[in-house]
């Protein structure tokens, strides 16, 4: 018998314009000890299913049809007490953001002890023992220190392990994991995925794994369901679904996953003159406020002795884990920060010690930036058109300034957006659309160089692919130079001509993309490459692309 059986459910959310149907006629079975993947783009309703299982849809949401049975019991008929026992007991949930799943003002040990104390009624000492055991189950060996820590003192990967330990303490029979690794670095993501797979084997818990990334789901799930617009469009055995995808949406999601195994055709880039020359650049931040002459207690090294060059028309990627100093480097190239040592030449001019405010309009026009977070890349209180035309007015060449409206429409066209977008506010656009506008905004200045700081990492895999295409087309068609930062090595392999690998503020390796990806690897590069989830069919052949 199924542990969880979802039978033709429909979920509606009330809104002022009538009900919105979030989930339509969805059925799903999970047997005890089984791991099932639920894949789809953001907004397709996959998280809503998890919330419905927990009967946690919020005040305006309701299960309008169908039944959800856990272990034969209809969840919507449970009493409040039974439901409370179910949540955090038999069914546990792991969210995307580990930090917000934990109480920031409670020590980890105290938070975790609450679970055995409330669910099993054991005393404090026994609870402590259980917590220590759970922490070692998730391979947090230094459990004493972790127990004493507050959430903000731990890294994202450690926190997600703590959250998983927390769910294990309730001795669940089903864990719902909603994008549990999306907020983490790829190397950490790979570790957490291994951990989940191992725990699943060891404890035999059933898992519903929700993700937008088919490659990731492939790693641990035997069965997958693919969702689109609140409907499950395909389901079945993972190997079969991946080998012979039956629905266009599955195909789309598969194609969107970049693969390390396939080498893209590269347009033979003709090396032009050097446009960026970074030479022995270092950046230190003083630690301590320094207000009223308070002593600065030390120096934080963000970048140390960085040297590289970028030629005209090249696509160069800087890769590494977060905290490795990649963004700081980009900010110094742009003039949002100044160097502590070394020189940065952009088109022959030394700009390393010049903030943007000191740079001439000519040098501002030359180099523009695309930011990581689509949420705050655009001013939420101004229409898209106003934001783009401001750049044209400020930095555009004379012919465009004469007809700004036409230029703005042309820019939107260049990023595949309809001209009507000018009248939209950023809040009404999706992350991918906003990122397109951010690219259009950078293009409006008619730059020679675009620096992009993780322009794809906050987007869905399928959207990532289309934005990456835009960058590639722009570079190939107009000779634009692209310096982009990424932690996604598969994407880098598809897009970059040259790769610079950074670890802890230093360059550990750089060279043409194929050389970096061909063995022998630098140990750090090897670690990054291993972390990339890929879909490999049973024949051992890369399926995607």
């Amino acid at each position: 018998m199924s542990l969880l059986s979802i039978d033709h459910i429909e979920v509606r959310y009330g809104s002022q314009d009538g009900d919105v149907v979030a989930i339509k006629d969805v059925s799903l079975e999970i047997k005890a000890g089984e791991t099932v993947g639920l894949v789809g783009e953001s907004g397709c309703g996959k998280s809503t299913i998890a919330l419905a299982i927990m009967d946690y849809l919020g005040s305006n949401g309701r299960l309008s049809a169908g039944t959800i049975r856990f272990d034969g019991r209809d969840i919507s008929r449970l009493s409040v007490d039974d439901l409370q026992a179910l949540r955090g007991g038999d069914v546990a949930m792991v969210y995307q953001e580990p930090f917000s799943a934990l109480n920031p003002s409670m020590r980890i040990g105290d938070q975790l002890s609450e679970i055995p104390i409330t669910h099993e009624g054991v005393d404090r000492d026994r609870a402590r023992e259980a917590v220590t055991a759970a922490l070692s189950d998730v391979q947090l060996t230094d459990s004493d220190r972790i127990s004493r820590s507050f959430p903000h003192q731990l890294s994202g990967g450690q926190l997600q392990r703590v959250v998983i330990a927390m769910t294990l303490l309730g001795k669940p029979r089903l864990i719902l994991m909603d994008e549990p690794t999306t907020a983490l670095d790829p190397t950490v993501e790979a570790e957490i995925m291994d951990l989940i797979a191992e725990l699943q084997r060891k404890t035999g818990v059933a898992i519903l794994f929700i993700s937008h990334n088919l490659a990731l789901v492939h790693k641990i799930c035997r069965r997958v369901s693919v969702m689109k617009d609140g409907v499950i469009v395909e389901e079945g055995d993972a190997a079969t679904v991946y080998r012979t995808p039956g629905h266009p949406q599955t195909r789309l999601l598969l194609d969107a996953v970049p693969s390390l195994l396939t080498v893209p055709e590269r347009s033979s880039s003709k090396p032009g003159e050097t446009v960026i020359n970074v030479s022995h650049v270092s950046k230190y931040y003083p630690i301590g406020e320094g207000r009223f002459g308070a002593a600065k207690t030390g120096m934080l090294v963000a970048n140390e002795d960085i040297s590289f060059t970028v030629q005209r028309g090249e696509k160069v990627a800087i890769v590494g884990e977060s905290g490795g100093g990649k963004s700081t480097l980009a900010k110094m190239v742009m003039g949002l920060e100044i160097v502590s040592g070394g020189t940065i030449l952009v088109a022959g001019q030394n700009v390393g010690s010049q903030l943007v405010s000191q740079r001439s309009p000519k040098s501002l026009r030359r180099i523009q930036m695309v930011f990581q977070n689509p949420g705050d890349t655009l001013n939420p209180s101004r229409k898209v058109g106003a934001q783009l035309s401001r750049v044209v007015k400020k930095l555009g060449s004379l012919e465009y300034r004469n007809d700004i409206g036409a230029r703005v429409r042309e820019l939107l066209g260049a990023v595949d957006l309809p001209p009507e977008t000018v009248d939209r506010y950023p809040g009404t656009l999706s992350g991918g659309q906003r990122q397109r506008i951010a690219i259009a905004r950078a293009l409006a200045a008619e730059p020679d160089i675009i620096v992009a700081d993780e322009p794809l990492s906050a987007l869905d895999v399928s959207v990532q692919a289309s934005i990456a295409d835009i960058f590639r087309d722009l570079c190939d068609s107009s000779g634009l130079t692209l310096l982009f930062i990424s932690h996604d090595l598969a994407r880098v392999r598809q897009l970059a001509d040259r790769v610079i690998v950074m670890e802890s503020g230093r360059v550990v390796e750089q060279g043409p993309t194929e050389d970096i990806f061909a063995p022998p690897h630098h140990p750090y590069t090897a670690r990054l490459i291993e972390a990339v989830p890929t879909i490999v069919s049973q024949e051992g052949r890369g399926i995607s692309q």
């Binding site: 742009m334 949002l336 501002l364 101004r382 951010a438």
Partner: protein, 279 residues
């Protein structure tokens, strides 16, 4: 969308109705008030008492100890509060926003000095500060405005500064800097509009506080010089006989309370509509 949520919030609509009521009363004061607010007629008349020598005209809310019609004074008094409370709040906002923008955006010494100044002002008991200022410069309309600005601007500055510290790190601000926008443009166009939600909510609350403050200053004899009708001043004038003739005190108090309640309810509605930046 947030305006729709506001429209369907009965508290916010009630607040708006109260405010509109007083706006209409103030605008139509000459038509509504049955008597000249400063005319001395029969003292100590209870509410509803007939006017001497008339069959139908009444002192609907009675008269005060000098024989002035309480209803007329409450109606005319609304003009005072409706002029001074929003005006003083707006001026305080202009100063507070300017200080907060500069302090939050430029940081450094400007921030240190502005923050130090605001901490000093905020550490004074508010009423004592008002009494000191008004006593020193004398009670007049303009001095009341300046005192409110001096006392309120530091608090506003701190709110604005906090919002700016967050907003200046947003990528769209970096994008503006990368196209060579000057500091003033960034502060006014890129930062301020995105801070406006919480400021509007706070502003509505603050109009209410300022109305109470003006009422209290009137009560302490530091309000507008007599004989201008002013709700706080009416309470102060009649305080000595309030036990025997409560109507002289109660009606101006109800007026102040309903006015402040209107703004508080509206602020609460705006907050629920998500204007303060929360979800």
């Amino acid at each position: 969308m947030s305006s729709n949520i506001l429209m369907r919030n009965p508290y916010a609509m009630g607040g708006l109705a109260l405010i509109l009521f007083w706006v209409l009363v103030a605008a139509a004061a000459p038509l509504l008030a049955p008597f000249d607010p400063n005319a001395v007629m029969t003292p100590f008349q209870k509410p509803g008492a007939l006017v001497q020598g008339s069959e139908s005209a009444r002192y609907w809310l009675g008269t005060d100890q000098l024989g002035r019609d309480v209803l007329s004074r409450v109606i005319w008094g609304s003009r005072t509060i409706l002029l001074y409370a929003p005006l003083a709040t707006l001026l305080a906002y202009a100063v507070g926003i300017a200080m907060g923008l500069v302090a939050g955006f430029h940081r450094g010494w400007t921030d240190t000095i502005f923050s130090l100044f605001s901490n000093i002002v905020l550490s004074f008991p508010v009423m004592i500060l008002y009494v000191l200022i008004i006593a020193k410069f004398g009670p007049s309309g303009i001095n009341i405005l300046l005192a409110v600005v001096f006392v309120s601007a530091p608090g506003i500055m701190r709110i604005v500064r906090g919002l700016v510290l967050d907003l200046r790190e947003q990528d769209y601000v970096s994008a503006a800097r990368l196209r060579g926008e000057n500091a003033l443009y960034i502060m006014i166009v890129e930062i301020l509009p995105n801070a406006s939600g919480p400021l509007i909510v706070d502003g509505c609350l603050r109009v209410g506080y300022v109305a109470i403050t003006i009422g209290m200053l009137g009560f302490l004899g530091l309000g507008l010089p007599p004989p201008n009708p002013d709700w706080g001043g009416m309470v102060a004038d009649s305080r000595a006989v309030a036990v025997a003739f409560p109507h002289m005190v109660i009606f101006p108090c109800i007026a102040i309370a309903s006015f402040v309640l209107g703004f508080n309810l509206l602020a609460d509605g705006l907050r629920r509509a998500g204007l303060d930046g929360g979800s």
